[in-house]
Symmetry: C2
Subunit: 495 residues, 2 copies
């Protein structure tokens, strides 16, 4: 692949900066090294690191440490925690400013059906998007977020190998438990506080363009709580207690499966859209004036169709015509979602059994000022009040509180400037729907944060997760993605 | 194992019959051949024959044909059908009467967790029951119903090898699709009607003692209908349509899982015990005077505790104190049971997804005069009326109508006499909870039927299914089980 094949949109940005040596030299180095950069990304992607299933974690942590060193980081350490290791390292930069770059090296499981290419094959494939053909790497973690991790390291490498150092001091922190709710991260931050306190802001790189090239900047993340609800005959004292029995006994023996259905139904109405748990919405803060302003601006340009089409969704749960209402629903929507449910006989055919238990996995997404530690107790209280004290709740992984930064923070203003330098005018969202543990940095280190980047990737948590490497007329390719990172570091160093 | 080790309860029966040569000689032969009989049972059990999973069916059909010949049956045929073969054979007997013996050679799947011994190992193990230690064979099908099949063939063998022929003419019919709802059986019966029409009655052998030695005689079987209910975003036109998406989108995208919960909840109340489907109970016939008489008699002796303890159930769904009400519930209870439910992420950990579909398996048990062909349309109508036209219903396997015989039928009176000859006074139930396709014989051949036998086996459809071979002071062993079959044939031949 030729050097130019990765650069479509951002050329003028590069051109306009040509005379600025501190950018031009790293940019040029990126163009030269691009094939090597792609290889580095593929190396990282191909190393499995599913924290849910504990597959490949230690090997991936070692590989991240190795990549840190490869791109010139110092004081690289694979720090043991109670759970998976944190990989940290530092780079001395041009400016006095220090940016803490947060990465996650763990991924979702990758054994679900529906992969057209091997989930760990890092295969480069042609893909048709609305702006034309792209080349993308298909692999678990390419979007979320080992692709951005490796791309950011590539940008650091290019600075070191051209002008000798990156534009700002960097503290690199990669955790391996994000998909478990980052249980060890707050402990690590407290322990390594002396080093981390030097940071002026925190940054989480990812690819922020949608499939139509539109870019999104999220000023915050939602919180999340995840738990299992289990109905069992044993705990209930009714129904089969030890094993599934012949279903003819349903005539006089109770069903723990129907009990789970009944219990769930007390919790929501309207296909799960209206949550009936007492106090669930109580803490929810009203939108701030900044939120209102951002939502109004967003509504004018929000391409809801593109969102839907990527997800293969024909319609939203509320009318699509009122864009403002739709955005409000996403930004302020606290949710009670069933991630999975199972019980009894689930294979082929007609085994007739009355099961002894049924279980579901539930996640709650949190908005300001809901607190993660209060949500499971609220569900517990609701179930007890409705006579379901026997339904067991088990928290799975640690939750996150939500976290937001003001659009006025210098680090946020820097990222917006970088978007604009690459010809993109990002839609600014008060929050993303996803959850990352910024609250830990925010609470313990009291630093603001920002995230995003340019480029396109998608299908996190789904089969055929991908990142675009060779873009089209709407989506930038890898070279511009990496140049954006350099530009952002440079801007923040001088902000 | 010594000859006597299989005979504990029934000795006096054998003693009182000693002077009747036609029984004494087959009985003696059973005692002599008992080890060989155990081997024959284990041979049949060890041959897998899971019709749900299509494992070992043809081999098992061939083995059954081989066993028919081994025990002296003639005109043995493995008859091809649209589905699994039916194995039939005939024996000329002493009497002019002809008994059609119905067997099933297929079993439930046997790959569920919880087996203490290999499900296909036919291991002989010691087991403690309330009447003391027993020796039992643990294997899928030992209770339901390859154990009784082989034991009945052993009894025929003993007649042929002692007095030269069984007491009645026998037509042996073994199907391999009972656990699929016997879809090919009615067709087979119609096709082979000429041969089968010679039968005066139909009999299904099984082991009718519970773990405390009490015996039960069931005058009928319930009907059953089995189907899957599937909620999918694609059919609904809402929610994810192609794959599970990131659960953050629950804020503005609908959930097919919650939809299934909502739809199910419209169908029942009270943990599934009260069915809310319009017309569901309409056809249910009131108890007949014979039913009432039988239920009153049953209530006086029904050991509900023993039933519960075998199932590992602490309490019934209605108070146990009112035995009559309890029995009525079992006998007349038409049920809507969830056999299994699944959707989304069901493995370890916390994958956060909004699933695109959710499915459950449901069985309905039918009592007089509910008709199997009307039940799924009723459910369909209910779902449509409640706005769930998108929820797909798929019938799994063919259903059965229920079927009953009067206690006054000669074949029923014969079986009761045989119970009494072996010192057992069976509790007479208007129906069992299970379903077998007697309705096919009943409707097409217009013959009455009976079922049961002595001996104990249990855990049909569960792990560790077993049949007792060496009994204790409450439960007879294999020798008496087989002698009972001889006695019953003899009695029916002379009834």
């Amino acid at each position: 692949m030729s050097e130019n094949s990765y650069t479509e949109v951002g050329n003028y940005a590069r051109d306009s900066m040509r005379d600025e040596k501190r950018l031009a030299e790293p940019y040029s180095r990126i163009d030269k090294d691009l094939d090597r950069h792609v290889d580095r990304i593929r190396r990282l992607l191909k190393q499995p690191s599913s924290s849910q299933q504990d597959i490949g974690i230690d090997k991936c942590a070692d590989l991240v440490g190795k990549l840190y060193k490869e791109v010139g980081a110092e004081k690289v350490e694979v720090v043991e925690t109670k759970g998976n290791p944190v990989v940290c390292g530092e780079c001395r930069g041009e400016s006095d400013r220090t940016l803490l770059v947060y990465f996650m090296y763990d991924t979702m499981p990758f054994n679900e059906p529906g992969w057209k290419y091997p989930a760990m094959g890092a295969k480069m494939v042609d893909m048709m998007l609305s702006g034309g053909k792209v080349k993308a790497i298909v692999n678990r973690g390419s979007d979320n977020t080992k692709g951005p991790l490796a791309a950011f390291l590539n940008s650091v490498d290019s600075c070191n190998k051209s002008v000798g150092r990156p534009p700002v001091n960097l503290i690199l922190v990669a955790e391996g438990e994000e998909e478990l709710g980052s249980p060890s991260l707050p402990g690590y931050i407290k322990k390594d506080k002396k080093r981390l306190s030097k940071a002026d802001a925190c940054y989480f790189p990812f690819f922020g363009q949608d499939c139509d090239g539109a870019s999104n900047l999220y000023l915050g993340v939602k919180g999340v709580v995840y738990f299992e609800m289990e109905s069992s005959g044993k705990r209930w004292g009714r129904g089969p207690e030890e094993f599934a029995i012949h279903s003819s006994h349903k005539a006089w023996v109770d069903s723990p499966v129907w009990r789970l259905i009944d219990a769930l139904k007390t919790m929501t109405d309207d296909n799960g859209n209206k949550i009936l748990i007492d106090g669930f919405y109580d803490a929810v803060a009203p939108p701030t004036p900044e939120d209102d302003m951002l939502i109004k601006a967003l509504a004018k340009r929000f391409d809801s169709k593109a969102f839907r089409e990527t997800m293969k969704v024909s319609r939203f749960s509320i009318p699509e015509s009122d864009k403002e209402a739709l955005i409000r629903r996403f930004v302020f929507g606290t949710t009670l979602n069933i991630d999975g449910i199972w019980g009894g006989y689930t294979e082929k055919g007609s085994k007739t059994v009355l099961p002894h238990m049924a279980t579901c996995k539930v996640d709650i997404r949190l908005v300001p000022n809901q607190e993660k530690d209060r949500m499971i107790p609220l569900v517990r209280k609701h179930l007890d009040a409705h006579g379901y004290a026997d339904i067991k709740l088990t928290e799975i992984d640690t939750g996150y509180d939500c976290c937001r930064a003001s659009v006025k923070e210098p680090v946020v203003q820097s990222i917006i400037s970088s978007f604009r330098a690459f010809g993109l005018d990002p839609a600014i969202w008060p929050t993303s729907g996803g959850a990352v543990p910024f609250y830990a940095f925010n609470k313990i280190l009291s630093i603001p944060f920002t995230m995003s980047g340019i480029g396109h990737s998608d299908l996190a948590h789904s089969p055929n997760e991908y990142m675009v490497v060779h873009g089209n007329r709407k989506i930038v390719g890898l070279a511009d993605i990496e140049k954006f990172f350099v530009h952002f570091m440079d801007g923040f160093g001088r902000a």
